[in-house]
Symmetry: C2
Subunit: 386 residues, 2 copies
């Protein structure tokens, strides 16, 4: 069943959901650097059909999906299909899930259920539906391969270990405003919030990093991916973003995974798993150049959204999905200049205060909880601020 | 064949060669802390028969060995045997080799050949006879379990990896004189050289740390234990001794193993392998308390013995054994006040200058090369300095 783990030397067939975003283009960078290793079988993208068309021309997949089922001109050898069909194509060895939003959830679950490993970049989906993803992977006899740097670090550290870790220590850069007081953040602009000190990433995750909601979501993601209780997951400030996370084992020994802050590392690690392949286009870890690695306590008074998000995320039912929807809407509103940076937390909190949770939700109820919460917040803010 | 890897829950039967030294007593600390996990089957020690007798009273092994076959009074339930018999007792699950000198070499090889895993602390033996140890382990279908912190770190990092590492990065604290210039070292006393900044260890290894010969020996040890070419092994100064070593994989990802500088961690890791067991007597890694980890280039002008030792150790035949003998003699002479700290390197160099290497040596020729070189140096210095 487990298609990508057969260690055969033929190229792996990759389906990439979300090819035009930050993770998607970096995935194609890795594939471009290792042409003998991969063949692109299918690409899916949202509204950026121009970039999608040029990716189709370069990587010559046989199938594609564009948002809302759009059809591209001049793609005669490449047929449009649904997201679900794309994710479960006959010969696919690995699906990369790098699409924002909940549209990819169903196709990913279908792929896992069919025994296809999924390299998962979209932590929001794990937060929303961790139990569904885990169950699908178990049923399919396959694995979720983490793509984000922190869960990839944990995943790499626990390889070959026979017992559950005692503690996960997730590192946090602290985001764009790590050296400012909360009071100084009232008037920061979206442009300032998008200046991440160590990572080049998409817009939503960069704002989530500045609020530290991203780190709360990573704690939840780690909880579901690695089946570790929340009280055994710590977060520590590590401003250099070189140590991507650490794992403490039962005997107190700690392993850390390190490297330059470049998402192509964990993307490649997931794509080539269980092999590791030299990629000359990546810069090399140099401890002398790094010089010093620091650890500091997380000052949660500087990041009120962290506790807020983690508190909601620990609840059951549709709460986590509602949190994802609320955060998505609040970040959009901030990026559109509709709310202040310091209003992101209060907007999420108010948006969630009226949430009517459904326990044991269906997949559809989860995605609806997210979209309804997001819509309710957008409507409420428009009513006030136009 | 591989007795300790059966994962059964009965206590492991341990034979400890070198129970009264620094590694030996720390091994017994671990065993004392985990009484359900281990049973001491046999103990061997050198001249400290008083401590050996009290260890026998506490741990009630059935067999012992004391230097030169001495017999202890009041040990009626515990019979004296040869080192070889001790290391290959019928029910032994793991032999801990913590004895200084070459006497343990033959028993260790016998144990490995009989399929008994050997937790190996004595890096000098790997340097002298790495090919013999590796071959014996292969023949016995068992493993050498590294006990020293650096090779243990590498061993822990490569667990579960399917391919050979691209590079090992061994960390070095720099030893007692890391903040002094070479010129300032002419008049340092043995007491000053025995003040290691981060590790509590035996006398020989502490002096080897001050000269950095210890680090050269670790490079050679890693070369033989992990079958990695010398050009893929780097050394980096890391004064905190928290990161015990790092491994770079083919894809550029780096794993590090970390923890407080306490040898009981790697000792326990080898003893319980492949399990990991909580030990409440060990302090816990706290990244906040650690605060900062630094890396600096190794300034070999401060450590002339490092290049000297590594250069000799890369040669074949009896050269590595002769180096071990020469270093042992030079360290003894320094500790006895017969030569200066800065003479350790020149004394080793002169002692080796007359070495007549034998290629493809037998085990006996290896141990003879070590003892002859040591004796020659001791005689020559006595002739000059009395």
């Amino acid at each position: 069943m487990n298609r990508s783990l057969n260690n055969s030397k033929r190229p792996k067939n990759v389906v990439l959901l979300g090819s035009t975003g930050s993770v998607g283009t970096q995935t194609l960078d890795v594939i471009r650097a290792l042409p003998d290793r991969f063949r692109v079988l299918g690409l899916a993208a949202g509204r950026n059909v121009e970039l999608l068309a040029s990716q189709i021309a370069e990587f010559t997949p046989s199938r594609y999906y564009a948002a809302d089922g759009q059809e591209l001109a001049n793609s005669s050898d490449c047929r449009p299909v649904s997201l679900n069909e794309l994710a479960t194509l006959d010969d696919v060895d690995v699906v990369v899930a790098a699409m924002s939003g909940a549209d990819a959830l169903e196709p990913i679950i279908a792929a896992l259920g069919a025994g296809i490993p999924v390299a998962l970049a979209n932590k929001e989906l794990v937060v929303m539906a961790g139990e569904y993803l885990r169950e699908a992977a178990q049923q399919g006899g396959t694995e979720i391969l983490p793509v984000d740097s922190e869960p990839s670090a944990i995943w790499q550290c626990i390889r070959g270990e026979t017992e559950k870790p005692k503690r996960l220590i997730i590192t946090a850069s602290g985001g764009a405003f790590r050296d400012r007081s909360w009071d100084a953040l009232r008037s920061v602009s979206p442009e300032e919030a998008l200046e991440h000190p160590t990572w080049q990433m998409g817009r939503k995750i960069t704002i989530d990093s500045a609020t530290l909601i991203n780190k709360a979501l990573e704690v939840v993601e780690a909880h579901w991916l690695f089946d570790i209780p929340y009280e055994q997951i710590d977060v520590v400030m590590h401003k250099q973003s070189i140590i991507h996370s650490m794992v403490e084992f039962q005997d107190g020994s700690v392993k850390a995974q390190m490297g330059p802050p470049d998402l192509r590392y964990p993307i490649q690690c997931a794509l080539t798993y269980p092999e590791r392949v030299a990629n000359p286009t990546l810069s090399r870890f140099d401890p002398i150049e790094v010089g010093s690695l620091t650890f500091e306590e997380l000052d949660s008074s500087l990041y009120p959204c962290f506790d807020l998000a983690l508190d909601v995320a620990k609840r059951g039912g549709t709460w986590r999905a509602a949190l994802i929807g609320a955060d998505e809407a609040a970040v959009d509103l901030f990026l559109d200049g509709k709310i202040r940076f310091t209003e992101i937390g209060p907007v999420i909190e108010r948006g969630l205060s009226v949430h009517q949770p459904i326990m044991d939700p269906s997949l559809r109820q989860l995605t609806e909880a997210a979209s309804e919460t997001a819509n309710r917040i957008r409507t409420a803010i428009s009513a006030v601020k136009g």
